[in-house]
Subunit: 212 residues, 4 copies
Amino acid sequence: MLEAAEAVRQLTQAGAALAGRGWLQGTSGNLSATLASDPLRLLITSSGQNKGNLTPQSFVHIDEQCRVLQGEGRPSAEAALHAVIVRQRSAGSVQHVHSPWATVLSGFYAGAKGITIAGYEMLKGLSGVTTHEHSEWLPVLENSQNYTQLSAELETLLREYPDIHGVLLRGHGLYTWGADVAEAQRHVEIIEFLLEVAGTTDMLRGRFAQAQ
Amino acid sequence: MLEAAEAVRQLTQAGAALAGRGWLQGTSGNLSATLASDPLRLLITSSGQNKGNLTPQSFVHIDEQCRVLQGEGRPSAEAALHAVIVRQRSAGSVQHVHSPWATVLSGFYAGAKGITIAGYEMLKGLSGVTTHEHSEWLPVLENSQNYTQLSAELETLLREYPDIHGVLLRGHGLYTWGADVAEAQRHVEIIEFLLEVAGTTDMLRGRFAQAQ
Amino acid sequence: MLEAAEAVRQLTQAGAALAGRGWLQGTSGNLSATLASDPLRLLITSSGQNKGNLTPQSFVHIDEQCRVLQGEGRPSAEAALHAVIVRQRSAGSVQHVHSPWATVLSGFYAGAKGITIAGYEMLKGLSGVTTHEHSEWLPVLENSQNYTQLSAELETLLREYPDIHGVLLRGHGLYTWGADVAEAQRHVEIIEFLLEVAGTTDMLRGRFAQAQ
Amino acid sequence: MLEAAEAVRQLTQAGAALAGRGWLQGTSGNLSATLASDPLRLLITSSGQNKGNLTPQSFVHIDEQCRVLQGEGRPSAEAALHAVIVRQRSAGSVQHVHSPWATVLSGFYAGAKGITIAGYEMLKGLSGVTTHEHSEWLPVLENSQNYTQLSAELETLLREYPDIHGVLLRGHGLYTWGADVAEAQRHVEIIEFLLEVAGTTDMLRGRFAQAQ
């Protein structure tokens, strides 16, 4: 398991890199790392932090019920989603970002309940994928402010699709995870790249253009 | 109230961050912080400054009539708009940026007198908004070089819509504000993000495409 | 007149800023400052330099016939265009950049021999422009490898349009200038901003879309 | 020939610059430099490295059969493509990046087996090109996980088109090369610039828009 000070260092670096891409504007997004799994203990950014400029004071330690064990500030209401993912995927890190493309495409693909992304070499950067012929399903979940219900829906979704690497919340953003902070950050970069490719392709094709 | 040296430090940092996004090209935009409210005293960037690289000499102190109380240089003619916003909203900071999306969309939505932005989680970053089901009205005001008249129109608009978080000037840019420098900067980042999402959505939909 | 060491410092800083925007990819573009006007003496980047990372050795001093007076390396064949602009406009600095939007739009507007940009507040950042109601004519000149002929055409164009602030070479890029390095850099940033706005507007309108 | 420590320094710098443009997301791409040509000895990034932040430990030395001669880690399966290019072109450096535009356009132009890019001044930044009237053929090769076969196809292609400066792998990315690290990096920047110009032009034209 990751030592807390090292987890802070790694998440601070990831936050700066992802904020530099414009994916954590305002104080959006949240980043966590698993400190212990039994009982569960997570290090997570507290609510209202600018993720491009994190410090050790920007984090809290929480347990499985998202109660604060250490640190000042309160965890985001979305901490419950992190806990669900860590439990379901034995993830070492969960990273949640808001990008324009994720926000836009989650709306266009909500009716289809997700986006299929296939045929790209970049897919091989997702853990366990060994060929560009892979077809990745990126589900879109309806957004909600009822995080208890959203957590339950996310848990059901993760059980239904054991092989997915991320989930979009509609009009909200991307959740992805990895065995450690570096892998979770790699998954953010790759899925965001693939969403930009998908969106640009749809635009060139006029896929969503309506008859005037 | 904010101490002047600290206000300079915070606005300099905000200027560098927003210029890094390409929203303050040339010497466009202006940033202010409220030093005292009765009588009103504002710290504001003087005219012709590169906002990505501000120094203590880049600012002037002005009163409610935009007369210079301290510092070299003259305030922008737009300082009057800052004073109106501070009075109407008890704002601790007003930030005005020029982005391509704000400029483009303010033209397309001028006929409708504004843009409605609804359904996005990012809206929760706007002060007082607690759900993505919020519908934000971002009015578009006609641009003018008559700043006395423009100030009066802005004042009327702010009274008419007590809940808005920003205003677009047509073909010009965004004005937003906050209780302090950090909140005003957060509002810039969030509204610019939402404009990029709105513009990209319009493009994918072919919303403004004319029959050939 | 500008001292050579100070001109090197200012152009190095401008090069880094403009390269950071992606407008000087490869070793494209060139930047100059006027060291003396009678006889003409220019400091100009020599051929093949990466403009994001200039050093004093990246520059040569040239006279009106583009002969090297000082420094190693040879001036770009485009140095002749710099000399024409300095003479015609008494410019203190000429800056030439290659951006995707300038390259793309110079092709679409070549038939009209230029682009009219009007109604934007950002126009006020161009020297001498005092209202957004200004209409700026940005001519497009056919590109050529015959720089003697191109220089003559540019000179004719500058005489024909005494109020313009820049010229596009078709499929090539933007030339602009200013009284000093800072003003020329401001003109680059403003014209590039306006081209992005014009191009995005054309895309939303489907202005150049062909019937399928 | 390049000394190994100097090659590490140059590729590390190139990696940081190209990653900064978003062309090496995740741990995608790979960069090499030729240390000796007879027998062939290449310095190449090992598999799984973040190319924006390379260190001397991020590289291995390989021979023509891609066996590791020095260093920890294993070379990417794509190292064989680097070896083919170095042999065929006597290249001093091969650079492979993944950009959204290369990925998207390689799909749209796969049917035509490549993209013709002509009429742009930026083409003059490609080694040996002296006029914008040059027409550059950028072939698209079908992607494959069978690198032995892909190497053979690439070799055939390089023999068939002795004047090309780069190759796209479909849905994968760009391979380009140069006499040294600086020239190869310049070729990346120029070809990516030209792809952005080509893609933006196609978008404005509605070239790939399908009847609704």
